[in-house]
Symmetry: C2
Subunit: 433 residues, 2 copies
């Protein structure tokens, strides 16, 4: 059995010298060329900003004012990965981001990474091949920068020390957090969403492969079913508690809401002009105590959620999209209880804050106690985590009755740079300008 090499290897397409470097640059060049060609057939810079697209589209534009995969109608499957940069060279980091950009452009348009089939049979193929017969399957790739990319152990990295956004810090400890460091944080993150999980897995694998020698995967999470709608054209899906999730989610059709609560504005942070048009990605791996939940009564379940299970209507009456009436009293107090999730998470109870969530159901088998290791991989995109996430999560962690059935086991916060606007640009180029 061959021992897998963990040291840089001249045969790797991303090793930092010689043949392999040429291969990498070749791949990037081919990607850029093909995007140019695709431009004739419909690629438009800024497209992603103007039109998030329809659910189920076979492909979504990669470039634009904002990154795709945020207001894009949530695809059904997720592969999320966090990476740590193993090189301390700014040039290596930029080279990686350029190579990732070229690969992302190719894969999101349904093309293989690089040349597909190499000109020489004596070299590894540029693309690992398992998605060769599949189309783009609505793939989006969304990249983020963690706090540790800017500074680690008190020392600035990659010459980025002065550019770290003020809000880009490790999230605070919330009550009942039980975070696994091996499922938390990371210098970089990539969210791959697609209609077909094989396409999402292929994308993360190839990005990971391209990173070899510069960055290494820290952790990853597969999500098998979306738990949020980001478009009014999508039905509300259900989480593993069996309830509709995300009825009140911020939808892309709410243009004003998206501008106010998702995209970082020009003057938001003087240290981080580069982030204008970007956003922050909050990820939380939330384990559900499935077996316990499954033994609680429907009455308790609905009281904790604040909605009925069948329709998703608030317990104050109406149908799924009826606004909850938090004042309506029943015999034992408000029909929508004081510690119900719907009340605590509702904009009217959170200074009007709306959140664009884009989470996924996950199951990773059973844990050591034989219980399902399953739950919700929460993903939200917020303009300012200090205003639009942390206050709400602090309240939920302390007061939400559902917390009895939840345990947060992973966490991360990343700044998501704006979209790539220029054909010669790359993900995060505004940060390195």
């Amino acid at each position: 059995m061959t021992e897998p090499a963990s040291a840089p290897d001249a045969a790797s397409p991303t090793a930092p010298s010689g043949v392999s470097r040429r291969r990498l640059l070749g791949a990037a060049g081919a990607g850029a060329l093909a995007v140019g060609a695709a431009g004739v057939g419909g690629y438009a810079v800024g497209h992603a900003a103007e039109d998030p697209g329809e659910p189920g589209q076979s492909s979504y534009a990669f470039g634009g004012r904002h990154q795709a995969g945020i207001v894009t109608p949530a695809q059904d499957r997720l592969h999320f990965a966090a990476f740590d940069v193993t090189s301390e060279s700014r040039d290596d980091l930029i080279l990686l981001l350029r190579a990732w950009t070229a690969a992302a452009r190719a894969m999101t348009s349904g093309r293989p990474v690089g040349e597909g089939v190499p000109t020489s049979y004596d070299a590894p193929p540029d693309d690992t091949g398992e998605a060769l017969d599949l189309d783009a399957s609505g793939l989006t790739l969304t990249f983020g920068f963690g706090p540790t990319l800017f500074e680690r152990d008190g020392k600035p990295r990659f010459g980025l020390g002065g550019k770290q956004p003020a809000a880009l810090r490790e999230l605070p400890h919330f009550p009942a957090d039980k975070l696994d460091p091996a499922r938390s944080n990371g210098d970089l993150c990539v969210q791959a969403c697609a209609h077909d999980p094989q396409v999402a897995v292929h994308a993360i694998r190839n990005l990971s492969r391209i990173a070899f020698g510069t960055a290494a995967m820290r952790w990853a999470q597969l999500g098998f079913g979306r738990t949020s709608s980001t478009s009014t054209a999508q039905a509300t899906p259900r989480n593993l508690f069996g309830f509709k999730d995300g009825t009140a989610n911020l939808k892309s059709q709410d243009r004003e809401g998206v501008e106010e609560f998702v995209w970082v504005g020009e003057g938001d942070d003087p240290r981080a002009d580069w982030l204008a048009g970007g956003t922050y990605l909050v990820a939380r791996r939330i384990n559900m105590q499935i077996e316990t939940w499954d033994r609680s009564s429907l009455r308790e379940q609905e009281a904790l959620v604040g909605r009925d299970r069948e329709e998703g209507a608030p317990l104050s009456g109406g149908t799924e999209f009826t606004e909850p009436d938090f004042d309506l009293q029943g015999r034992e107090g408000p029909l929508v209880g004081l510690n119900s999730h719907v009340r605590l998470a509702h904009p009217s109870q959170n200074k009007g804050v709306k959140m664009l969530r884009r989470g996924y159901n996950f199951t990773d088998g059973s844990n050591a106690l034989g219980r399902l290791d399953a739950g919700l991989f929460f993903v939200a995109f917020v303009r300012d985590p200090d205003v639009h996430y942390i206050p709400m999560q602090t309240r939920l962690s302390a007061q939400d009755g559902l917390m009895e059935y939840l345990q947060h086991t992973g966490s991360g916060l990343w700044a998501v740079p704006p979209g790539v606007r220029r054909r010669t640009g790359f993900v995060g180029d505004t940060l390195f300008a």
Copy 2:
């Protein structure tokens, strides 16, 4: 935080006494009734035997001469689970199989388990709810009995000692096996396949919940993409090596081949008449050394597989479905190499044996070394593992060049009873007759 109870609980729908027993029987009764009603609308005993169905069908019949999920055109997603029976009562085991049968009938026809919404809000819902808005999504549930169901530590269990099929033994140790006991074997197994992973996960979760107090999940595996076709109407998918997999797979249209190599015949095993019309399920969790593979040349990859990557044609020429010519010589020996996977696995090199494989790609994140924990969850259905699996795997383990990139980390063998033929029947009823 509530401590999840692990002891039998009166509130559980499957606790073996009182209210919960009534609830369980009620659920089973409702299932049987609904199947009766569905019969008017098309349910036909024996249907699954006569017609495996088309790829992408929204539902497949549960009952029939054989269990569904074997010659059924392989659906795209898998959730596989192994259980250990924690009770030593034969009645409990039969009750579990009856309850599983009722639930399987409901879920495979797109209905919730039991009544869906309970008549009392003070009881837990019969169905966990996360698939309430989804249709059957082609769900099949295939049940198997492991050797330890019949005998454990030299002692017969459940009065089944005399009925253990001769071939139902733990698989032998193959060279290079590195099996994890926590991913191997089990008294019972359930293969859930569906077009939508949320439907497959929902099915295993609800079967696990029904088993509470009688059986506990031992391990589970999620598969995100099929690696085999079981119908000529399906395109050949690709495995994580990037190659088409299963080109030469036994297809359901090969009626004679299926009779000869899949279904246990009437006189196959005098001790196990009950298994006639059934089969054996072999499962192997095969980790791929992805990073190492990705650094090998296309020439080496194709030589090891014995086919070209792009088309899947044998290296002796032609197109994907051209039969390999094992005698055709190149400059350095046979074009299809002596240690190539195609040659070693081909029926002509294995006494004519054909195998119905039904495997899935998996990825479970990264391992402790930061390498992808990914590969192929191999599933095959064979008439006699001693003839149709073990000899071939022994050869492959010793000679297949691909083994350098593979590591078997999980394993199991189960006898798969015939389909449920009678409306009052249950999975495995022939064993308990």
